[in-house]
C-alpha cells in the first residue's frame, strides 16, 4: 500500500503554544482519494484531536477551504495525487485569517465584510403576482457570480486583503456585483456608495490571485472591474 506524508499545521489555543507542524502518514486505500479523505483517516485512526471543517464533501458548502502546498483549495474536491510533491502534502489553514484551532480559522471578519455590501435583492417597484421576468441573456450575466460558496479561498489569497484590514476583498465584491448586475435589482446606487472608497473596489490592484484560488472557477477580478467601470460611469 502506498502512503503519503501529510504535514499539517497544528495549533491548540488551550496549550498557549505557537503553531507547529506535525507529520502523519496517510495510506492510499482507494483510487481518487481526496485530501479530506486523508484528514478523516488521520482523525479517525490516528489522532482524534485534529480539527478542520467539512460538511457536504462535494465542493458546494464551502466549509473546507485550506492552504495545500501554498495554494488555497477545498479539501473535499482535491485529489491527493494531484497535489502530492515527492510523497508529501503540506496543509495549513487559510492564510491571513485568525486561527481557532489547527485548520479552523475565524471567518467572522470575512463574513462581516460580505454582510456590509447588502448582498440581497433590493427592489422598489412592488412585485407582480407572478414571477418577475428576466431574459435568458440577462440571467446569463449572473453565471460565474451566483455560484460563490463563501469559502474565502480568494480573499485569503489576496495581498491587498492581508495588507488592509478594512478592504472588503474579492469575495464580498464578487457577491455585490452579483446583485448590481441582476436585471431585477434596484439597489445599485446605495451599494456603489459603499464601494466607492479606498477600502472598496479601488483597493484591488489586479494581482489576480483570487482568480487562481477560486475552486468554483469564478473570476472576482472581472467582477471588480465591472464595479470600477460602474463607479467611473457614475462620476462622468
Amino acid at each position: 500500500m502506498q502512503s503519503v506524508t501529510f504535514t499539517i499545521l497544528r495549533y491548540d489555543p488551550a496549550g498557549g503554544g505557537e503553531p507547529r507542524y506535525q507529520d502523519f502518514q496517510v495510506n492510499i486505500t482507494k483510487p481518487g482519494m481526496m485530501v479530506l479523505d486523508g484528514l478523516n483517516q488521520i482523525r479517525w485512526e490516528q489522532d482524534g484531536t485534529l480539527a478542520y471543517r467539512r460538511s457536504c464533501r462535494e465542493g458546494v458548502c464551502g466549509s473546507d477551504g485550506v492552504n495545500v502546498n501554498g495554494a488555497n483549495m477545498l479539501t473535499c474536491v482535491t485529489h491527493i495525487e494531484e497535489v502530492a510533491r515527492k510523497g508529501r502534502v503540506v496543509i495549513q489553514p487559510l492564510p491571513g485569517l485568525p486561527l481557532i484551532k489547527d485548520l479552523v480559522v475565524d471567518l467572522e471578519d470575512f463574513l462581516r465584510k460580505y454582510f456590509t455590501v447588502k448582498p440581497y435583492l433590493i427592489t422598489r417597484a412592488p412585485a407582480p403576482d407572478k414571477e418577475r421576468l428576466q431574459s435568458p441573456a440577462e440571467r446569463r450575466r449572473l453565471d460565474g457570480l451566483y455560484e460563490c460558496i463563501l469559502c474565502a479561498c480568494c480573499s485569503s489569497s489576496c495581498p491587498s486583503y492581508w495588507a488592509d484590514p478594512e478592504y472588503l476583498g474579492p469575495s464580498a465584491l464578487l457577491n455585490v456585483w452579483r446583485f448590481i448586475d441582476d436585471s431585477r435589482d434596484e439597489g445599485a446606487q446605495e451599494r456603489l456608495d459603499i464601494l466607492d472608497d479606498h477600502h472598496g473596489a479601488w483597493r484591488c490592484h489586479t494581482i489576480l490571485n483570487c482568480v487562481e484560488a477560486c475552486p468554483k472557477g469564478l473570476n472576482p477580478t472581472k467582477a471588480i472591474t465591472g464595479i470600477k467601470t460602474a463607479l467611473l460611469k457614475r462620476k462622468f
Binding site: 440581497y120 427592489t123 407572478k130 431574459s135 440571467r139 441582476d182
Partner: protein, 592 residues
C-alpha cells in the same frame, strides 16, 4: 471543571434549530411576528440544502398546462399511498406561491425564452393523473439548492434574523410536555448554552448518513429524530429511506434525476436500456425506488457493468455538450472530479445511494409536532414544531418524488414559522425551567470528554454505516434485519464505553462526531425495528421475503419510541386519507 464549561442562558421568543431551507424559511416567517433566533451546527449556507440539484416542484404551467391536483395525485401515488392526503393537498396547492415568493426574494432561476421560470421534467411527475408528460421542476441550472439556500440567507440578512452559528444542539427541553428551549454546545469556544424559548422549531435535516454509500453531507445524522426520541417523543416511519438510483460509483455523490429529465438513460453491461422493461411507461423517469431496484436487480442478475459487475451506466452525452454545459454544469464537474469521467463524451458509472429520509419527527399539516396522547394518536405537543427533512408530515409517505423536498421545506417552513410566531405572540411569559433542564445533554458531553480514550471512534462509525448498508439496504430480509439488530446492540455497548481523544473545548470535532454517532445509533435502532416489523414492501422499504404491498396489514404509519434500556418500542397510527377539499385518492396498485 474549566470555566468555559459553564452554562450561559439566553432568552428568545421563537427558536429555530437548523439553518437549511426549512429552518431559514421558518425563521423569516416567525421573525416577522416575534423575536426569533436560529442555531445551527454550521454557518447557514453550509447546510445540506446547498447540495440540492434538480429543482423545486410546482404546477406553474410555464411549459404546458399543469394543475396542483395532478401534482397531488403524483405525490400520493409516489408515496405508495403512505402519504397523508391533507398535508399533500396543502403542499401542492401552496407550491406555486412559495416558488414565486422565492423568485421575488431574488433566487436566480434559469429562464425560458419568454423570461419566465424554467421548468424541467422529473421522475414520477405527470400530467392528467398519470396520462401525460409534464415539466414541473423549477430549476436554477443544476444548483437549485445552492441558489435557494443563499437566497433565503440573504433575505434573513435583510430582515435581521439573529443567528448562533456553530452551536450544536444536545437536548430538547420539555416542561410537563410543553417545549421550552434547547441545550446547545458552542463548537468554536466550547461551553454549554441554554436557549430558553417560548417555542422551538426543529429543522435539523435527515439521517441518510447512517448508510455507507450516501449522497448526504457528513452532518446529516438524524439529530432531530434522535433528540425527540430521547425526550420521550416518537419518531415516525424511519424505516422508509430513499435510495436514489444514480449515486456516483465508489463515492455515493448524487447525479441528479434531472440528467434523466433532460434525456439521459441507464444501460446495463449488454447496452440494454433495462428500465424499458422494469417500467414500460415511465422508463428511466419512473419513481426512485423503482429505478433503484431496477439497477440492483441488474447487478444481482449478473448484468452489472465494470470488472466487478456492480454498477450501471448513465448516458447523457447524446444531448450534446452545449446543453450539458448550460443545464447540468454542476453534474459535469461532479462526474469529472469523483468518477474521472467527461460526461459529454462517456457514460457515468452509477449505483443506488442512500439519499433521503422519508421518516422523521411526526407533525400535522401545520408543522406542529404530534404524539399519542389525550387527543388521540395526533395530540399536539405545545410549542414544538418541525419542518423539512427532519419532519414527517407525512407528505412523502414511503417514497418521495424528486423536487418535493425543496417544496416541503418552503411550504412547511413557512407554515411552521407562521404557526410558531402566532403561538409565541400569544404566550405572555416563559415557562419556568426545572433544575434538571439540560442535565442529560451536559452529562453526555462530560462523559465523552472526561472518560479515558481507549479506542478511536472512526472505525465504529464506519462499521455501523457498513452494517446498515449490508443488512438494511435496497433489499431487506428477516434474517438480515435480525442479524443487524444483534450488531447494533454490540455497537451501542461499545459506544457506551467510548470517550473522545480530544479533551479540549475549542472546535472539538471529535466530540461533535461522537455525539452524532450516539444519535445515529438511536436512529438505526428505530430503522431496524420498524423494518423488521413491517412485513410488506412499500416504496423505499422492500422486503425480499414479503415482496408485495399489504394494505390490510400495513397501510399505517410506524411510531418508534426509545425505551430506557436502549431498546425500541413500536406503535402505529392510521394514514390520513381525507384531503382538505378534493376527493380521496383511493388505494390502487402502483405501476409506472
Amino acid at each position: 471543571m474549566s470555566a468555559s464549561m459553564n452554562l450561559t442562558t439566553h432568552r428568545v421568543g421563537a427558536l429555530v434549530v437548523g439553518a437549511g431551507g426549512a429552518g431559514l424559511r421558518a425563521a423569516l416567517e416567525a421573525g416577522r411576528l416575534v423575536d426569533t433566533a436560529v442555531i445551527s451546527q454550521v454557518f447557514p449556507t453550509r447546510s445540506h440544502t446547498v447540495s440540492a440539484q434538480g429543482g423545486i416542484g410546482a404546477s406553474l404551467s410555464n411549459v404546458e398546462h399543469d394543475d396542483w391536483r395532478y401534482h397531488m395525485y403524483d405525490t400520493v401515488k409516489g408515496s405508495d399511498w403512505l402519504g397523508d392526503q391533507d398535508a399533500i393537498e396543502f403542499m401542492c396547492r401552496e407550491a406555486p406561491s412559495v416558488v414565486i415568493e422565492l423568485e421575488h426574494m431574488g433566487l436566480p432561476f434559469s429562464r425560458m425564452d419568454d423570461g419566465r421560470i424554467y421548468q424541467r421534467a422529473f421522475g414520477g411527475h405527470t400530467s392528467k393523473f398519470g396520462k401525460g408528460e409534464v415539466h414541473r421542476s423549477c430549476a436554477a441550472a443544476d444548483r437549485t439548492g445552492h441558489a435557494m439556500l443563499h437566497t433565503l440567507f440573504e433575505e434573513c440578512l435583510k430582515q435581521g434574523v439573529h443567528f448562533y452559528n456553530e452551536f450544536y444542539t444536545l437536548e430538547i427541553l420539555l416542561q410537563d410536555g410543553v417545549a421550552c428551549g434547547v441545550l446547545a454546545w458552542d463548537m468554536v469556544r466550547g461551553g454549554f448554552h441554554l436557549f430558553h424559548a417560548k417555542a422551538v422549531l426543529l429543522a435539523t435535516g435527515g439521517y441518510a448518513r447512517v448508510f455507507r454509500t450516501t449522497s448526504n453531507a457528513h452532518i446529516c445524522t438524524g439529530d432531530g429524530a434522535a433528540l425527540c426520541m430521547r425526550a420521550g417523543l416518537p419518531s415516525q416511519d424511519l424505516e422508509f429511506l430513499q435510495f436514489h438510483p444514480t449515486g456516483i460509483y465508489g463515492a455515493g455523490n448524487l447525479i441528479t434525476e434531472a440528467v434523466r429529465g433532460e434525456g439521459g438513460y441507464l444501460l446495463n453491461c449488454k447496452d440494454d436500456r433495462f428500465m424499458e422493461v422494469c417500467a414500460p411507461t415511465e422508463k428511466d423517469l419512473a419513481c426512485r425506488d423503482v429505478v433503484s431496484r431496477g439497477i440492483a436487480e441488474e447487478v444481482r442478475g449478473g448484468r452489472g457493468c465494470g470488472p466487478q459487475g456492480d454498477y450501471a451506466l448513465l448516458k447523457i452525452d447524446h444531448i450534446g455538450k452545449d446543453k450539458i454545459m448550460e443545464r447540468l454544469p454542476g453534474i459535469w464537474e461532479l462526474a469529472m472530479v469523483f468518477a474521472g469521467v467527461d460526461c459529454t463524451k462517456e457514460p457515468i458509472p452509477v449505483v443506488p445511494t442512500a439519499h433521503y429520509s422519508m421518516g422523521g419527527i411526526p407533525t400535522d399539516r401545520f408543522a406542529r409536532v404530534v404524539t399519542p396522547g389525550d387527543d388521540g394518536a395526533e395530540t399536539v405537543v405545545p410549542g414544538l414544531y418541525a419542518a423539512g427533512e427532519a419532519a414527517c408530515a407525512s407528505v412523502h409517505g414511503a417514497n418521495r418524488l424528486g423536487t418535493n423536498s425543496l417544496l416541503d421545506l418552503m411550504v412547511f417552513g413557512r407554515e411552521g414559522g407562521r404557526q410558531m410566531g402566532e403561538y409565541v405572540a400569544s404566550q405572555s411569559s416563559w415557562l419556568d425551567l426545572s433544575e434538571s433542564a439540560g442535565s442529560a445533554g451536559m452529562a453526555e458531553v462530560r462523559r465523552l470528554l472526561n472518560g479515558p480514550a481507549q479506542r478511536a471512534m472512526g472505525p465504529l462509525m464506519e462499521q455501523l454505516r457498513l452494517d446498515m448498508e449490508m443488512h438494511c439496504g435496497v433489499f431487506r430480509t428477516e434474517s438480515d434485519l435480525r442479524e443487524l439488530k444483534g450488531k447494533l446492540a454490540g455497537h451501542r455497548a461499545a459506544f457506551a464505553n467510548l470517550s473522545v481523544q480530544d479533551k479540549g473545548l475549542a472546535y472539538n470535532l471529535d466530540l461533535i462526531e461522537a455525539l452524532e454517532l450516539g444519535h445515529m445509533l438511536d436512529v438505526c435502532s428505530a430503522i431496524a425495528e420498524g423494518a423488521l416489523a413491517r412485513r410488506e414492501s412499500r416504496g423505499g422499504h422492500y422486503r425480499d421475503d414479503y415482496p408485495r404491498r399489504d394494505d390490510a396489514g400495513w397501510h399505517k404509519h410506524t411510531l418508534a419510541f426509545l425505551e430506557p434500556g436502549g431498546g425500541v418500542g413500536l406503535d402505529y397510527k392510521p394514514v390520513r386519507m381525507q384531503p382538505l377539499t378534493v376527493d380521496s385518492i383511493a388505494l390502487a396498485e402502483r405501476k409506472y
